[in-house]
Every structure is written in C-alpha cells, then in structure tokens.
Amino acid sequence: MSRRDDVYVVGCGMRPFGRDESVTGMDMAERAVREALADAGVAWDDIGYAAGGSDVSGKPDTLVGRLGLTGVPFVNVQNGCATGASAVLAVANALRAGEASLGLAVGFDKHERGAFHVSAARYGLGDWYAESGMMLTTQFFALKTQRYLYEYGISERALAMVAARAFRNGSHHPLAWRRKPLTEQEILDSAEVSPPLTQYMFCSPGQGAAALVLALGDRAFDLCERPVKLASLAFRTRRFGSFEVFSPWLPPGPHHSPSIDAAEAAFRTAGVRPADVRVAQLQDTDSGSELIHLAETGLCGHGEQEELLAAGVTHATGRIPVNTDGGCLAGGEPVGASGLRQFHEVVRQLQGRAPGLQVPGGPRVGFTHVYGAPGISACSVLTV
C-alpha cells in the first residue's frame, strides 16, 4: 500500500477529564473539536466526513448545529468502550474509500456518579440476573482478576503497582482527573469494593471529550509537520470461550478474549511486533484489567507482569511505557471519550509533545487497546 492510501492523524484536541458541573458533554465535545481543528490548522467546513460517539450525553451529529451546517456526513456511533475506536474506524474507512480526504472523529460523555447502571434486557439477560445482585461490571473485573492472580501466582501488590503508576502519571498530566499520587500501601488499604480490587484500583465514570482530525495520504503531509500514521485499527467481538462481563455461565475453558484477537490483527496488519511498541495505552477500568491486558495484547507473557511492574518497565522511562497519561484510573471513564483520549495521548507522545510525562528517546511505535462489554475489543498501531 502506498502512502496515498494511508490515513494519518493530523490534529487532536481534548478537554480535561473529571467533573465540571459548569459544562455539558456536548459543550466539551464542541471545544475538543475546535481544538483539534485548530491543531490541524483546518476549518470545520474543510471536514468531509465525521463520526462521533457518546454513551449517554446526546446525539453526536447534533454538534453540527454548533460547528456549522455544512451538510457533512456525520455517523453516530454507540459501541460501549470501543465507541472512540469505532468512530476512528468509520472515518478512516471513509477516507480510504474516497469519501473525503479530511475527516473528524469525536467522542464525549458525562456520566452520573457511582457505578454504571446497566439494564439486564439490554444485554439479553433476564431480570433475575440483576435482581439477584450479580449484574455489576465491578464484580466481573474482580472475578476475572481473582482467577488470573490464582492461575499465574501474582500477588495483590501487583494490582497496587498498576494503580500507583497510573496516579503518578496522572499527577503530571494537565488533562487528568486524579492528580494526587498514592502509595501502593494507600491503594491496598483503601475501601474494599470487590476483592482483590479496592476502591483506588478502580476508575470512576466521569466526564470528558476528545477529538481527532484524520487526513488521507499526501494531504496529511501538506497539513502537518509530523502526521501520525494509523498503521492499523482492528475491532473484534468475542469468540466462544471468552470470559466476559455479564456471563451467567462460562464453558470449562481454556478461556479466550477479544483483546487477543484484536491485538494480533492490529500487529499483523501494521507489520510490527509487540516488542516494537514504545508507548502503549491499555484499557484500565481497574488494575486487574490492565495487568491482564498487558499479556493478552502480547506486550508481555502471562505471569510476567509483577516482575515487569516491580522493575519499572511500564513507567514512562521504561521499556514499555503504559498509560502515560494515567489511563482510566487517573482520567476516569467517560465511555464515549475514553478511546479517543488514548489516541490523543499516543499521538502527542509520538509527536514529542506529550502534555504530561514525555517518553524519552523519540518513540516511533504506539499502541492503543480498549476492551468492554459484552466482549469487544479494538486495538490500533500508530507510527511515525
């Protein structure tokens, strides 16, 4: 494939994650889009194709009423934790198909406080499942983590190491929500939620918005000094044998994950190896998830995590920097915006202008990974 057919990120914008009662999700989205357009040096009426996602904060295409009624095709995406990646995929495919040479992806959300409220019927389950107190995402993450620690002999301290690194990275990042570093002991001693996971090992639903401007081929190099190539973006649903959230039953195993499939496809398409990655974003709704995703995506082997974490390998200065902006743990999880936050951070890292801790040595290969209910994953490889 020649450069002509490649899609690049040429601009990005993001509003601070967290809680801000003075703005709506839509307000934040508009500002993130304007930032991304300014970053790319283009105007809204240059955009030939757009896609946007929000879980609870409104129909994204209504943004055209604020940004300008240009008639642009605008696709709304609602795909759980993979909403952001799905929006990017929709735009990238449209650009490759010749619909336009410049596109925009935006994601935003503003959630209520507390655990996500989910409806059994929406997941094809009977009311009994929720009524008997089993329909909680937090339980699933705890059950999967508990089993994983048991199978691979990993200690609960490893979970605290993940969270401590996230909050430390967040403390350096101007767009993060949780900016107070916490010690491993403080994390282990925080309120019990669902063992082995404690309060500070979980992210919280929050609010935020992020946007990307994407360009096709040569147009990208006309617009941007250092465009970041979307070398691959793979999206997968679960296969049989996957241990997923909201599963009243599981087959006896071995258990699989859509993250494994999506990561394999993303690396294969991009023609790079997991070992080439120098900055990674992994879905960290909780410490256990990040720990498991490190191995499921191929960035390390199963059971190696504790040693790598203890050695600082996933720090910004380590061999595989992970969630350099603090991830979901420090940023919270506005579902529609979360995946685009990952792109924002990796793009800025690869361009050498990270808002927080910059990975040293000019990283050339970045990776993003999202995972969500009821068993979906999207992974991308970004390169410069």
Partner: protein, 147 residues
C-alpha cells in the same frame, strides 16, 4: 409464608413451586446435540456451533469454586437492598464440570477460596410487595450438609 423462585425457567420443572421436600430445585440449562456444549440459562441455539438442537439439561448439584469476590457496596436497582441495610455477600463461578455457573455463594469470608467444594442451595433474594419471599439459587460449602 409463600415462597416463589426468582425465575422459573432457571430451574427443573418439578411441578412443586413450594419445594418443601427438602432438596433445593435443581438448575436447568441446555445441551447442544451437535457439539455437547452446555449453557445456562437454557437457550434455543448453540453459541459454539450454531448447529445442533438444544435440549434441557439438569445441571450437577456439586462443584468447586472457580473464582469468587465479595459485593461490598449495595448494587443499584433492580437489586433490592434489605430493609435493615446492605450486607456484603459473596458471588463467584462454580465449576460443575461441563459448565461454570455464576452464582451467589452462601460461604463465609473465612472459608471462601478457589477450589472450595460447594453444593447447590437456595437463598432469599428479596421479598415481593405482597410479602412473598423470592428465592434464588446459590452454592454453600459441601460439608454443611453433613453436619
């Protein structure tokens, strides 16, 4: 006091809604005639091979805890927190051999662990507006029944 099951279709149909014969009603899933996959609750198509016919399958009553956690905070509705406040409870997957079933674990904090032998039982889930006690399935330590 009247009692009913939280969802009839999860259980073996014994025509005995009061289940007062001592044994808890057994769980019923479905088995695929094509690939042998056992699912719970029952469904009409196989998620593995999409091929075979599904028939009702009464699940084993004994197994081992495969994973567990504790629900420390009160879930949102439709879960109904007891009138006297939330009591943390255990939940987990029980390995029944042909299938792992997610269930409440009527097991104490001191005892709960992966590998614990457990047996099917029922526990109160909530009370209906008319006072009917609604019960659901759970697993308790196997040795409880030997006391």
């Amino acid at each position: 006091m009247t009692t009913r099951l939280i969802e009839e279709s999860l259980f073996e149909n014994r025509g005995n809604p009061e289940f007062d014969d001592g044994d808890p009603p057994r769980l019923t899933g479905a088995r695929c005639s094509g690939c042998g996959t056992v699912v719970f609750p029952r469904q009409d198509s196989c998620p593995r091979c999409s091929g075979g016919a599904m028939s009702a399958r009464t699940l084993p009553v004994s197994g081992r805890v495969w994973s567990w956690t504790r629900q420390a905070f009160p879930p949102k509705p439709p879960y109904r927190t007891p009138a006297d406040g939330h009591r943390p409870y255990h939940v987990g997957y029980v390995d029944l051999g042909e299938v792992l079933v997610e269930a409440l674990l009527a097991v104490s904090r001191a005892e709960v662990r992966i590998g614990l032998p457990v047996r099917l039982t029922t526990v109160p889930a909530y009370r209906d507006e008319d006072g009917t006690e609604v019960v659901t399935f759970a697993f308790r330590p196997e040795r409880d029944g030997e006391r």
